[in-house]
Symmetry: C2
Subunit: 188 residues, 2 copies
Amino acid sequence: MRKSKVYIALLHYPVYNKKMEVITTSITNLDIHDIARVSRTYEVDGFFLVHPLETQRGLAAQILDYWQRGYGAEYNPDRKEAFRIVRLASSLEEVLDMVAGEAGSRPKTVATDARIYPRTVAYEGLRQAIAEEPGAYVVLFGTGWGLAGELMEKADYVLKPIAAGSSYNHLSVRSAVAIIMDRLLGDR
Amino acid sequence: MRKSKVYIALLHYPVYNKKMEVITTSITNLDIHDIARVSRTYEVDGFFLVHPLETQRGLAAQILDYWQRGYGAEYNPDRKEAFRIVRLASSLEEVLDMVAGEAGSRPKTVATDARIYPRTVAYEGLRQAIAEEPGAYVVLFGTGWGLAGELMEKADYVLKPIAAGSSYNHLSVRSAVAIIMDRLLGDR
C-alpha cells in the first residue's frame, strides 16, 4: 500500500493552442472514459475534470450521470466503477482546496509536459516518495498543446518529458496519462 | 539503437464481446490517432490496422489519406508523420507475411490481454531481448473485450496483464498500447 494520496487534474484552461496562445479547450468525452479507467486501475484517489465554464461542466455532469445512474451503469458496471472517481472543478485552486480538505494538508503539484523545462524530476524519485512517504500529490495534465507556462512555473515538481530522447513527442493526453500513471504507480 | 524490429497489430477479429462471444468490431478513429502517435514516439516499425472487411479498411484508408495528403496533412504535420507508420491488413497471417518479407525472417508474436494466462512472460525479459538480440516481434492487441483464446494459444509469447495485482483491469486498448510500448521500448 502506498503512503501518499495521488490525484489527477485534467486542465482545459490555461492551455496552449498550436500557435502557443493561451486558450480554453472543450471537454472531450473519450478523455473522461480513458482517464477514469486508468485512474481506477492504478487506484488514483480522485480524477478532477477542470473547466472554468459552467456549461462545459454541466455537459460533463450529464455524461457522468449516464454512466453512474443511467442505462450506462446497467450496461457496463465496470465503467460505473471507474466513473465514481471522476469529479468536477472550475479551477486548479478549487482542486487544491478540495484535496487539502481530504488529505489534511496542502498537496504538492506535479506538472507534466512534452517540452523540456529547466527543473525536471525523474520518475523514480517521485515514485519512491509516493510509495514511502505520507503526503498528497496532484498530477496536472494539459489538454490542447499543453499546460500554460505560468502553471509549469508555479508547480512544485515538473516531470521529465515521457520521450525525452525521441525526435517526436506528440502523444495524446490520454496516452500521456496512462504512461505517467504506470511509471509512478504501476507494479512491474 | 535496439536490435529488433517491433510492430503493432490492432485486431478487430477474432475478438470477444462482453458475453465472451467471438465477434468482429468496427475500426475506431481515435484508436488510429492515439496508437499512431505512440508508434511514432517509440519508433515502432509499423502499426497494422487489421480488419477482415474491405469496407472497413476502405474507411480507414480515407482517414489515413486525409491526414497524409488532405487538409489534415497541412493543418497538422506531426499527425502526418505519425500516420506514415499506419498500414492496413485483412488478417494476422497477412501481417506476418509482410513483416517476414521486410525483416527477413518470420516474426515472433506477442499477445496481450487483461486476463491471466498460464504461460506469461515478464516485460523486462522481452524488453532486453528486443534491445539486444536481432529479430522481429509483432505485438498483438485486441479491440472489444480482448483477443480470442485461439490467438492467445497460438502466440509465441503472452505478456503479463498490465495491472496483474489490481482489483480492476479494464483499460481502453489505447491506454494498454501506450503503457505496454513504454514498458517494452521507453527510456526511463
